[in-house]
Subunit: 349 residues, 4 copies
Amino acid sequence: MTRNIAVGVIGTGEMGTRHAHNLHRLVPGASVAGTYDVDRDRAARVAAECGGATPFGDPHELIRDPSVDAVLIASTDSTHAAFVQACLDAGKPVMCEKPLAQTAGDALRLVQAEQALGRRLIAVGLMRRFDPQHLAVRRVVKAGGIGKGLMFKGTHRNARVPTHLPGQVLITNSAVHDIDSARWLLGEEITEVFVRGMRTRPHFSRETVDMMLLQFRLTNGGLCTIEVTAAAGYGYEVSAEVVGEAGTVITAQPADAVIRLRGQIAAHVDQIWLDRFRQAYVDELVGWTESVRAGTPFGGASAWDGYISQVVTDACIEALNTGLPVAVPTPGMPDLYRQDTLREGVRAD
Amino acid sequence: MTRNIAVGVIGTGEMGTRHAHNLHRLVPGASVAGTYDVDRDRAARVAAECGGATPFGDPHELIRDPSVDAVLIASTDSTHAAFVQACLDAGKPVMCEKPLAQTAGDALRLVQAEQALGRRLIAVGLMRRFDPQHLAVRRVVKAGGIGKGLMFKGTHRNARVPTHLPGQVLITNSAVHDIDSARWLLGEEITEVFVRGMRTRPHFSRETVDMMLLQFRLTNGGLCTIEVTAAAGYGYEVSAEVVGEAGTVITAQPADAVIRLRGQIAAHVDQIWLDRFRQAYVDELVGWTESVRAGTPFGGASAWDGYISQVVTDACIEALNTGLPVAVPTPGMPDLYRQDTLREGVRAD
Amino acid sequence: MTRNIAVGVIGTGEMGTRHAHNLHRLVPGASVAGTYDVDRDRAARVAAECGGATPFGDPHELIRDPSVDAVLIASTDSTHAAFVQACLDAGKPVMCEKPLAQTAGDALRLVQAEQALGRRLIAVGLMRRFDPQHLAVRRVVKAGGIGKGLMFKGTHRNARVPTHLPGQVLITNSAVHDIDSARWLLGEEITEVFVRGMRTRPHFSRETVDMMLLQFRLTNGGLCTIEVTAAAGYGYEVSAEVVGEAGTVITAQPADAVIRLRGQIAAHVDQIWLDRFRQAYVDELVGWTESVRAGTPFGGASAWDGYISQVVTDACIEALNTGLPVAVPTPGMPDLYRQDTLREGVRAD
Amino acid sequence: MTRNIAVGVIGTGEMGTRHAHNLHRLVPGASVAGTYDVDRDRAARVAAECGGATPFGDPHELIRDPSVDAVLIASTDSTHAAFVQACLDAGKPVMCEKPLAQTAGDALRLVQAEQALGRRLIAVGLMRRFDPQHLAVRRVVKAGGIGKGLMFKGTHRNARVPTHLPGQVLITNSAVHDIDSARWLLGEEITEVFVRGMRTRPHFSRETVDMMLLQFRLTNGGLCTIEVTAAAGYGYEVSAEVVGEAGTVITAQPADAVIRLRGQIAAHVDQIWLDRFRQAYVDELVGWTESVRAGTPFGGASAWDGYISQVVTDACIEALNTGLPVAVPTPGMPDLYRQDTLREGVRAD
């Protein structure tokens, strides 16, 4: 009885395949209408795995096809902005994996195009906003029990890293999530950034900066510190803490079982982000397809969030390169993106 | 493209309503075809909430109706056995909330009827088998790292309790879950039970036994101890631990966020079982509807498990009443119920 | 300026050596006056390690020697009662490692002798009463926040075990500590015991019972369950939990550091009781020597506690042997042993 | 038999009184010989509480008095350097509460005076080096299991704060401890500092900076981030984490008991540093008096550590005031202060 949302998936690499499988198997009232990938075989394979969806040979055909209600973009970063613009042109809702664009200017143009349309069609894939642990922290902060939020502390560790990882990539691919967490959890904007990084292994390329500390100032005078460690060795782990006037709240590390063995009490740590954020990825798509069905704005990250993320990561790259603190502009948020009354997450029943 | 499983829900009290909502909103490829309840208004209300399902005036009509692919029974305990038998007569898969029947004899008759059919249509709602924490313990035990499982330790606490709660009700309604956990996690049967209980508040009725310790012997000589506390005050909490030769494994207490406030570091505890086992209830129905669709046996509790649960709870009631250890018969499991190769849970991808 | 307490140590095996070293190095205002052991070399070695104490050739000479202010007995169990009696005869304070005697009758005779003297000279080495974690549980229970204490749950695991360990030894050597914890933390006496045990490895001797569940009834109708596992494999661990009307309190597992490594978040578990209770052993001697100096009753376990421990362990052995619940006598506590106003632990400043 | 170390205590405020009581009651082989305070009554009271020590009217008389084996300085910060110099002049071992001096220059003069003497008489009271949790982290790092240490992360929270707290005071009084932890745990020196602070409450004085983030670069290219929050509200808490190549290690939060009550699982947090570091303060004095007795260098912080702390805090104050990253000089450590083979802590037996 529920209207089905048929999604076209552009980009069927690791992330896009996960999204397609989630839409097909775990998101009620959603299906995969079609797929596109530069690797046609891969697109066809994922289409077949998702209940016989149509593999498209041209992404713009997929976007325009009447069988496609909404579009999910998980292709390579440099293609995002143009595909999102095409979705706007076709008047179709679109979920774009971060980054929304490759420059702040490109992101701003998408924001302006959306404003010209007068309705929000763009969702950005910053999935932590649907993670049960991050949502719990958000709820505690909003409930006010710990007082006004004064500081954000983020930790972001990957188990393994390529031997060539320029610092700007660590910022735009990894730190961008923590930047979004800081803004979202505190409800403040970032006004100054200071960044220091390190190449942790001599055999990594000279340009590699695989460990980083980022320190921010916020609009309310508050502070942030973010650790991004790409070669943490032991596993993949993310934590987010808010220090308030009266107390603090931090994401619990998810644990299923506690094992006592060989002189230790231990819990398992996930190895990759797809495992850690398994539920968040499903809930993000549930929330998104529900918003598409209802014609209401998406409860997760908006085009505006995608644009501001770009503005902050640009400043972080400059701070890393110059070694100095860098001021960050804080343009006023257009009315289209105010969403104080939106439902967050998908578990609020 | 996936074949939809249309479920008829008999009994739309608190538990049945939750199941109906889950089927309608959170279980992909499932829907609510119809509802029945002795309170017709309630049945109609839930039917309306679930996408306009049909409210039936007669449960047997619901069971026989061709629009109903499978039946979920959440009505009052005394009606379970007859409804399950009617499902068998109609050749329809049925998920029956525990208890399967009210006497071991009645449960055995259902087992025998199923055996006569030669295929498994009966699923029993012991949802912990789908709880992520319990599944994690099960996986660790099966992986063998902690050696042979020697002991099960269960804790089962409700926050609040009615002032009249006879000991046998605590056994059949609450301890039955822990009994199933012990059998499932260790893969052994219970051969002896010893039970002591307590009325914890003077204002509870004289027949009330709201706190209980159950101690078992297992087929491999192993041991169990189970605490059931109905008036724990602070919240609802379940834990399950297996002690093995080389180590132990215990369910982690689910936690979203850790709060530092007023001299404490604290995590939230759920207040009712519907919150604690929210995900387990969804996953149980996902697993069940998948098995219905595929025509394969359900990966959770079978009619046999429902029957053995009844045998053990009967012995526990006798032990509570006599004050003595009571031997428990361990009939051999019919071939129909061997399922060593079944996939468990729904998160194994 | 503080009066020094010179202690004679009888028995310089592993436990007695630890006590002697603690007295010499870590207990302010105490020293080792002399040592005795059936192995004279060992006694001499420990005497030398403790600042040049006198090695005695006869334990009764040590007890009577005017240089000895107080006596610590850590010799083999069968010698305890006679040495304690000799200390009473000499009018000297004595700390006796558990068990106080080998039969309830012998223990009772010491209680009666002490009563005849009219002052308490006997302290029994049940060191958990000085463990910071156990004291914290005790304080929470006494403060009343969790309501009336209804249940005690104990876990007691050793890493390794001799291949020959008769069940009665597991009861008198290991379970005796948990029995004392139950009585001390709840302030109730044990009225019924039920015991089941297991030999966990086929290569252990046929008489071995190295894993045990003990279930008790208390004077207030409350309940206890105690796990004693002698071959836990992974390490040495003790926990004590009290379930009250409004909440529960459990000993925290001591942890120094939390390590993230190879896919795990882990904390270290001690391997032997001497490490786990390192501080408790020191604090027990601090409390004991302070009581000797002040001439006030010892804040830890008394001769009465030693006697009741024996009564309960006797009943447990009978329960293990008969397979039936066994009633435990609960003689009234003589006035000499009431100590409601005593200071507990040594950290209350 | 052990030689007693008689200590003269200069300054009997909160900290000095705690040290005096510890020396008198909890440090074996130590006593309080005399006390001095600008408040003569207070000095006399503490002297009386410590076994009848001598209250001195002149601190230099105390330092020179033949009954005083060693001196502990806990007077107001501005007096430290001169009292330490007087101890050097008298050839007596001295434990000086941090800071060693008020300028790097004054501290350096004490280092040079000590070098001229050719033996180490100065100990600096940075007590975390004796905290069991910090020692455990240090042991894990030194054992090498987590690989080379790359990053230090410190958190330092006080429950309450005066309404006037200039940023430089927060640096010299609070952050100085975390600076020492970073140097000690990683074995690296700090080469660059960047500091941002915040006044968290409008009613605090305008000069107040009660919340601070400090970010450092280290000699090996590694990084540090330190949070100092003076008005954390909920309690006093310190944590120290080292991120290594293969894993991480962090101080466990000390916990005695875990309480389940009113919908929470909770552990207590200390309210003041004297409670959190109770054991560290005792062990620091045990280690110091043992080193005085043996004539060996103190295993804790040296005059060199006190000097370098001053150099780093000077740079932090400049960074706070200028808003820019500030380079920190790293003078070579004189041979006198190399102590690779020293025993650390007092629990290594």
